[in-house]
Amino acid sequence: METATYSATAIQIQTPEARLFGVLRGPENAKKIVVFVPANTGTRIGPQRIFTEMAHDLATNGVASLCVDIPGNSDATDAQPPLANHWRETNIIQYRKYLDLVKEYLEANFRFGELILASISVGGHAIVEYGRLRKISRMVLLSPLHYGQEEAVVNTKNLQAYYHKLFRPETWQKLIRFELNWGRIYRNTFRLQAKKQHVKQMEEVVAAPASFDQLRLFCVFGERDADFADVLAYWKSFHEKGECKTLDCEIVEGADHSFFGYKFKQEVIRMVTKWVMEK
């Protein structure tokens, strides 16, 4: 993954409210630019560096990309609290604010052609809502969730975070010494109802989604994703109800939600590059 064939520029987007850091790759004023949007606790490089590698692949094919951090996580700063991963409206508002900064920066400083948004997991629906609002057609959604699922995702993620601790001696030492925090373990694993933050801007939330009938979505799912069948059915229904103009889906056999594994990652990169390169 060398940069000899394309340029890579580190950028800072500074506003009174936030400072975002990112890397712009690919030809200047390319006909297409993909903006990689992390999930709420993610970084601009993505799980197993998938965004960076995808950006490299696109750049060698003449497509520019911007991998940029999300406020409240990684390098980015923001006066607002970190994104809540369990409430749809909070996600949409905060992604909207952040993506507006990115979009304005790109429009002010470059002359790229088509803007394509890409995200993973919780970020999926947020960028779809943003696309509707700002009339951005094409989206790449890696393992996108759906609204009903987002409230539950924190439980699954937390459970997964605990699994490796079972194999550590210190966990068992704590257990023997009655030093495990059972209250916290219970709350994290079996959270039954997500907290709801009162945010004044909730009134601005799109009560009815903005009308835009040109959405073209590309969804990639891992076959071993816990809710794979439900999520696939949800997005197919999304298309059947006319919420998006086109829906292309790909399934990576054997892969999990984040496509962990070199071969799975390469397959996702290949699929995304192919779809983005299409007219």
């Binding site: 993954m1 060398e2 940069t3 890579a8 520029t9 580190a10 950028i11 800072q12 400072r19 850091f21 890397v23 709420n40 606790t41 993610g42 970084t43 601009r44 490089i45 993505g46 799980p47 197993q48 560096r49 998938i50 960076t52 590698e53 991998c67 409240g72 996580n73 990684s74 390098d75 970190p82 991963n85 924190v154 993620k157 937390n158 997964q160 975070a161 699994y163 490796h164 079972l166 194999f167 550590r168 001696p169 210190e170 966990t171 030492q173 704590k174 071993r224 054997g254 999990d256 496509f259 962990f260 594994g261 070199y262 071969k263 799975f264 990652k265």
Partner: protein, 266 residues
């Protein structure tokens, strides 16, 4: 305090290293180079590193963070990451940090395996008298075993049918650690990594333990190996294992601890 992002060429390979520098408004003549953890530990540590860098810069320290080749935003395919090259690049950047900002003292802050690499950086370099080690790995063999166990558990939990964890890339064999293929050279490096048996001398070593339950014997060996020829201190700070957490966690206590150590040491 300002922040500067650059791509700098590695003298060893000519590839570009992504560098993020935290520059104080008024410097105190001291700087720190941060060394990252590996695998997705790096991704999960990024916020902590940014916050710690900013905190140090607010107090006059110049802090340089960089991504190893083949990781983060630096050049190089993921499978080309080379531990020896990481050490060489860190030595180069330490010298560059000192010269560029005219600093009198340079220290190292290593997180997880970055802490073990920091010891190697300091072994053959006059730079880096003060090394802050955040939960070092210490034993590469044990670390490899943990990573393999984690991978196996993940595969079992997700009912993944995996024939082999070996992948062929450009005619060479690599062992895949969930998207991070390691070459035989990298694996050998890890197997041989034993930070308690280094030859580093004359340094001030502050070892931060967030998890005090990690093998006491391992830390005892580290102390025995390093305290004779160095000023060695173990510091326990209560905080989350941010490198392992899938959610955003509050690491302010650890950052503050590092700031206190840096301030009293310089």
């Amino acid at each position: 305090m300002s922040e500067q992002l650059d791509f700098m060429k590695s003298p060893g390979t000519g590839r570009s290293l992504f560098v993020h520098t935290h520059i104080p408004k008024q410097g105190n003549g001291c700087g720190y180079l941060m060394l990252n953890p590996a695998f997705d530990e790096k991704k999960r540590s990024q916020k902590f590193q940014a916050e710690t860098g900013r905190m140090l810069a607010e107090r006059g320290f110049t802090v340089l963070r960089f991504d190893y080749q083949g990781s983060g935003d630096s050049d190089g395919a993921t499978h080309t990451m080379d531990w020896d090259q990481n050490v060489a690049d860190a030595q180069y950047l330490s010298r560059m940090l000192k010269e560029r900002f005219q600093l009198s003292k340079i220290g190292l802050i290593g997180i997880r395996i970055g802490a073990d690499l920091a010891i190697q950086v300091a072994e053959s370099d006059a730079i880096g008298k003060h090394i802050i080690m955040v939960q070092p790995v210490i034993s590469g063999k044990r670390y490899l075993t943990e990573q393999r166990l984690r991978r196996k558990t993940f595969q079992v939990l997700h009912k993944m049918e995996v024939e082999t964890d070996l992948v062929d890339i450009d005619g060479h064999q690599y062992e895949d650690f969930q998207g991070y293929p390691l070459s035989n050279k990298s694996l050998t490096f890890l197997v041989q990594l034993d930070t308690g048996k280094t030859t580093v001398r004359g340094k001030k070593l502050d070892v931060i333990r967030v998890n005090e339950f990690t093998s006491k014997k391992l830390y005892q060996k580290l102390k025995e190996g390093l305290s004779e020829a160095n000023q060695f201190k173990e510091i326990k700070i209560s905080g989350p294992e941010f490198w392992a957490s899938m959610d955003s966690v509050d690491t302010a206590a650890i950052s503050t601890g590092i700031l206190e150590i840096a301030t009293t040491s310089n």
